[in-house]
Assembly symmetry: C2
Homo-oligomer: 251 residues x 2
């Protein structure tokens, strides 16, 4: 059973500042991430640790706001407002128009899926992706979050971030581009990645990582990797230039 802000005891994280009711509302929304799209009142209650009556009340507000909707069968679903605002978020990066064509070109010339990742706290977020035409391919969706410590794109986001503390091992691995990873994030997947820069508030900064990935059965050999790497370097340079980072190719 849940308890209200326990001020004395084992002091559970005890979020500083903020509004309890809002935290709960967001917890309800976030619970849907692991229950693919549909949840009953009881499920929500269980997943969040909130009383059913509490969920009911908060859900009324969420529903009114269009962040949640309820079907006749009583199941809750996420609401259209999330969709609208989510796309607004994606577009607020204002780089979609530049990234998409680059990804398409990469898919075209390499035949494999291409993605653009940005760092988001301690994970990396797939902001854009274009799928290869191959029937068998690795699967990452736009919006998915992956760990920062595995996979070529993850290494790039840490190793080429001027603000990050980089381990000696990673630093040496970052010595030359492109970065290659085979079977790291997933045993059957290989990936090649390069950094992308942009002109930011305080000069040139890391914008994200451009990556091409696919099953290692198609990508593992050095010649294929060389070709993919060449395409990535070219497109990455192009994209960085479009983002106003002319000469920042090297850290």
């Amino acid at each position: 059973m849940p308890s209200r802000k326990v001020s004395g005891e084992g002091a559970p994280p005890k979020a500083e500042g903020g509004v309890d009711a809002v935290d709960r509302a967001l917890a309800i929304l976030s619970a849907f991430a692991s229950h693919d799209g549909q949840m009953s009142l009881a499920q929500i209650s269980e997943a969040t640790g909130l009383y059913k009556s509490t969920v009911l009340r908060i859900a009324a507000s969420l529903e009114r706001g269009g962040f949640l909707s309820r079907q006749e069968n009583k199941l809750y679903r996420l609401g259209p407002q999330l969709f609208r605002l989510g796309l607004l978020y994606q577009r607020s990066f204002k780089i979609e128009d530049m990234v998409r064509p680059v990804l398409r070109r990469l898919v075209e010339t390499t035949g494999e899926s291409a993605s653009f990742f940005v760092r988001q706290g301690e994970v990396r977020l797939c902001l854009f992706r274009e799928e290869s035409q191959h029937a068998v391919r690795d699967h990452v969706m736009e919006g998915a979050t992956l760990t920062l410590d595995r996979g070529a794109a993850g290494h790039v986001l840490v190793g080429y971030d001027s603000r990050a503390v980089v381990s000696e091992e990673l630093r040496s691995r970052m010595a030359r581009l492109p970065i290659v990873s085979i079977g790291e994030r997933s045993a059957e997947v290989a990936a090649v990645a390069v950094p992308v820069y942009r002109r930011g508030a305080g000069g040139v900064e890391l914008a994200g990582a451009l990556t091409v990935s696919g099953p290692r059965t198609r990508i593992a050999d050095t010649e294929t990797i060389r070709q993919i790497g060449a395409a990535l370097l070219e497109q990455g340079r192009l994209l960085s230039r479009q983002l106003g980072a002319d000469e920042a190719w090297r850290l």
Copy 2:
């Protein structure tokens, strides 16, 4: 100045049930829709009518949940969690895999942009869209909401919805497919649309509207419209079949 739940007086809408704090939080998020992605504390306060101190407190929760983020320059932006949940919403329709290829085929054969609209309360929502290659084209983004009473797709969503009350005028206009609109939503745009059905909980129901649209300079003549209409009818039928609505082509 804002006031708390006014129980007596002029009784402003007076939302039934729900949680005030959550309503406010959602109002803050929704305010971003009209201020393209970035807002200062003062702007939020003004747009929502909430005190700055209140916004600050609620924003702390939103930020913690990843629904909002704050930059060094103090401006708030929407957060990545919205992006994730938004895409989850889109995918919860589970029809993306079927709709995308259909849209691509339409763009390929007609040369114009193709979209899939669903009804969302009293507006229509662009759930998926594939852009034409033409430099000059009409502009509708995925996630955008348009009025229900204008444009071919809007008519379809009302006229072919078995639950909707349909005016005599609209009914006669719906007599034969496809539906065509020229210069309705926007003076320079022409569109052609057909309904898409699916097997739902209580039998076959309207799933959405499939539409092809572009500048009327390219679409207005009857021959072009005939061709687009033929492609739409074919793809719409195909899509409906994929969604389990075999013989429901006519209302």
